[in-house]
Chain length 557, copies 2
């Protein structure tokens, strides 16, 4: 059966009312705002109350660099939660919300797989509770207000060539990457060049995911730098006078969403910045809620540990006020063999040398995560074509690298396939974690970037385009250089070259631009050719999607 | 107290659970999909069952041409429903969904006013149940799939200069009226000129409002003509192979939303095409649901009776399979005096000659609606500054024009202020209606347009730009000329000149373009300088909006 078939069979017969799922972790019906029978948002009052409760332990799930062979990070996260519950632990999961753009393009769905899924999968993958749409609307309303300010006399003296704020859509639409707007004469705006990003790349998504509450959300929105005046003074949302309106549009989007796994594990799904172009973690409100409701909270960071993992440690954890007690790194034999040079088409064949060669990728991630002072467990997400010899090799390699490695088959068996992983995580949770941050925010931006490149990526040095050098000067002039760094980099490699698999070293990172994001509270460092608006493939997943006359959806997977 | 203050005082203490409102009209908890405690969608199963139930009587609420003085059509619609319930009638209301663009721009809110409001007003005016966002996403996903088709080799041979399908946002964003996209080199799309519309102007909104069910929705989406090939063959969504994906994105949006008035009258709010640039009526699923649940269904059409009224009669009613039993035309003394030449600033002063002069506007609307063979009642929406002499003049003028006229003060008194109107409507419902359509669809497009211009607008003739002539040739060549007509015209005047108030005659209507909308099943006739993407004013309503740290919204009105 396909993922959607497994999900739909379950949704029809097994899914519990979301009020029952809430009751499992002490939430009353009044704490929940229902969206249908199986989705709910937590009320602002409930969130406020939960701030006072003691926090559980925190497990961060991250992975090796992703490959076309698939790693199954969400699947393992969900399966681990289910397995811990089977062991009698009060585990609660926190995940990111799928972005519709990739769902319609390549991905088809982002809610786990097999018997380790969150449901209702169709709703979560499509419009869910409207958070992504509220963000799109808020971002684009702000953009319209900026262009209207130009149109109506430009009292703030904004330089149309120096506007940083871009429009977004939650759609993979490459034709909107570079556009000219405001054409058609005096009544139709001021002509200028601009770009559309995908919604998850917007600073407003980062802000939603880092905000403590509505008050913090408003304060962060007020600080957003939307561009510069003709004399290079930063212009903020507060200057435009529309902080309240933009925050108002996010009044409901800020509340985390509660759903369940196929095995009824309570799961918060909230916020979804991509880790290649943004900070890649679900909202601190979601993870904090999981920490308050569960004795063990399992939270997922996007893409590989070089991106989502690093950013969780250096950006999210300080905002959350809590560092991980254990890090789980998801790896597959297939993906490591691909990293070791085996072709995609032959990955079903045993190839121990390729595994050995590709292990360098996992080894560096293990080293990096251990560097933060947190115990590391490797979850080997099993595929039917993995051989026992390969699996045993991988376990030995991990142990030699100082990490426990455990096989898990949660795709095929749900939580029952993750019991060994759950036990390994429980054991690791007994070990002391002694968190050590990677860099000091007081350091200069170039020093912080170099630290990430050398200590996490394994690179040699960094070169800056002229545009990036100018941006760094502006950042220094405005006193923004003590902000943490959010790297925008390809997810496929430690380097900024998507084709450099495995564990490349001695490479140079090319910085094209550095964008100040005062609301999010970090500097986005654009490297290589990373795109902030994806495109659709030749055969988009949309071609296979359908809905029956009775409303049954097919073609998500 | 302001509208939002009245609404919020009520929402906190008086609003009933939406399941109770549903139960009043025979809906079980299983018939409803809750969105919070006070909003719900009807399930597809419930909609199917209601198709078999007998239908109540239908009251269509329309109005004079709108003015800056305000008419209060939604307010009267809501107050009439509440008043009929006070009289013991089982009345159910059907309204359009507010568009967020105008809410953030000029309007501030579109849920009635005073003591005749629908609640929760903040939710309905902002994201509501996500229908508008689902439409925006579906429209823009289709656009991205079209541009991706060009990018990936253009197998269908689509002419990039002849693409009809436009992107949309539910935002007043004049800077997106004319844009060039696909710039930036080979990987970023095929460069071309295009335009963004506001979501409510999209054909997909019209389709959602005219579809009988999901099967009909899919059939209509499949028929949409997105553009032409280089050899001028129409290209449809079916040709692109993405009918299922686009329909899937609207699986929930097609279900009507149930809310309540301040007085707990069940109200369906669903779909919201503007009547100036689209057909202007709420969905036939909403009105049909109101007809099945109520003995009297009150449905509202957009802007003046020349636009929303005419389109209800000639486009919506045939799709609905039901014509109105009574038409209510909303008018105010203020707005008629404005139509009669009195300045906005002095409308609080008595001016019987201006009223007499401006009455011509209402008189023509009365004549037009009576022409369809349906009894007409004029609802005079009272303002405190109206004098008794003016009100009595207006009643006499209406009676001389063959329509009962009744004073209503539902803004100040809710349903209690609309009892006389309710009684007049009940009396009119006893009269026989003998519906006569305005034109025969078999007539040529120019003949149908001329009929509307002469018989409804009171104009003399029609002139066609070269582009419109070419479009009509294409329409004839493809055999689309038997479709009904959807006029796109300024709402402020019977003519295509927004400044020609009152009852202009002997004018010429200028047709710029005729756009075939095969999915909606009509031809859109673009007249004068009507815009399909509004702009923001110098001081947008957004400047006054806010949300408190506890989530209380202010600045909607």
């Amino acid at each position: 059966m396909s993922d959607i078939e497994i999900a739909q069979a379950n949704e029809a017969t097994e899914m519990k009312p979301i009020t029952e799922i809430g009751a499992m972790v002490g939430l009353s019906a009044d704490d929940l705002e229902l969206y249908g029978k199986s989705k709910a948002k937590l009320t602002l009052a409930a969130l406020k109350r939960l701030r006072q409760q003691p926090q559980g332990k925190l497990v961060l799930v991250t992975s090796i660099n992703p490959t076309p062979a698939g790693e199954g990070k969400s699947t393992v996260t969900i399966g681990l939660g289910d397995a811990l519950r089977l062991r009698g632990q009060n585990a609660v999961i926190a995940l990111r919300e799928p972005s519709l753009g990739p769902v319609m393009g390549m991905k088809g769905g982002a809610t786990g797989g097999g018997y380790a899924q969150v449901v209702p999968m169709e709703d979560i993958n499509l419009h869910f509770t409207g958070d992504m749409h509220a963000l799109t609307t808020a971002v684009d309303t702000l953009a319209a207000l900026i262009d209207n300010h130009l149109q109506q006399g430009n009292a703030l003296n904004i330089d149309p060539r120096r506007i940083l704020w871009r429009r977004v859509l939650d759609i993979n639409d490459r034709a909107l990457r570079h556009v000219t707007i405001g054409l058609g004469g005096v009544t139709s705006g001021v002509p200028r060049e601009t770009e559309f990003d995908i919604t998850v790349a917007s600073e407003l998504m980062a802000i939603l995911c880092l905000a403590e509450d509505l008050a913090d959300l408003k304060a962060r929105i007020a600080r957003i730098v939307i561009g510069y005046t003709y004399d290079r003074t930063p212009v903020t949302v507060a200057d435009l006078g529309v902080t309240g309106a933009i925050a108002m549009l996010l009044r409901d989007a800020i509340k985390p969403n509660l759903v369940q796994t196929l095995a009824h594990t309570p799961t918060l799904i909230h916020g979804g910045p991509f880790a290649n172009i943004a900070h890649g973690c679900n909202s601190i409100l979601a993870t904090r809620t999981a920490l308050a409701l569960g004795d063990i909270a399992i939270t997922e960071a996007g893409f590989g540990a070089d991106l989502g993992g690093e950013k969780f440690m250096d950006i999210t954890a300080p905002a959350l006020g809590k560092t991980p007690d254990v890090v789980v790194i998801v790896a597959t034999v297939r993906a490591l063999k691909y990293n070791g040079g085996q072709k995609l088409a032959t990955l079903t064949e045993e190839n121990r040398p390729a595994l050995q060669a590709g292990f360098g990728n996992l080894k560096r991630h293990i080293h990096n995560m251990k560097r933060y002072g947190v115990p590391v467990v490797v979850a080997i997400n099993e595929f039917a074509t993995d051989t026992e010899a390969e699996l045993n090799d991988l376990i030995s390699l991990c142990e030699a690298a100082g990490a426990t490695a455990v096989r898990a088959n949660v795709w095929g068996e749900g939580g029952h396939g993750g019991l060994a992983l759950a036990d390994a995580v429980s054991t690791a949770l007994q070990q002391p974690a002694d968190f050590t941050p990677l860099y000091d925010n007081a350091a200069a931006p170039k020093a912080k970037i170099e630290t990430i490149v050398q200590q996490i990526y394994g690179g040699r040095d960094v070169v800056y385009d002229h545009k990036a050098e100018l941006a760094l000067k502006t950042i220094a002039k405005n006193g923004w250089d003590q902000l943490p760094i959010c790297m925008a980099k390809t997810q496929y490699s430690f380097s900024d070259d998507a084709k450099a698999l495995g564990a490349p070293s001695d490479f140079t990172i090319h910085v094209r631009d550095v964008v100040p994001r005062l609301g999010a509270g970090f500097l986005v460092v654009m490297t290589g050719s990373v795109l902030t608006m994806p495109g659709l493939p030749k055969q988009p997943a949309a071609l296979n999607m359908d809905v029956s006359d009775d409303g049954v959806i097919s073609g998500l997977f």
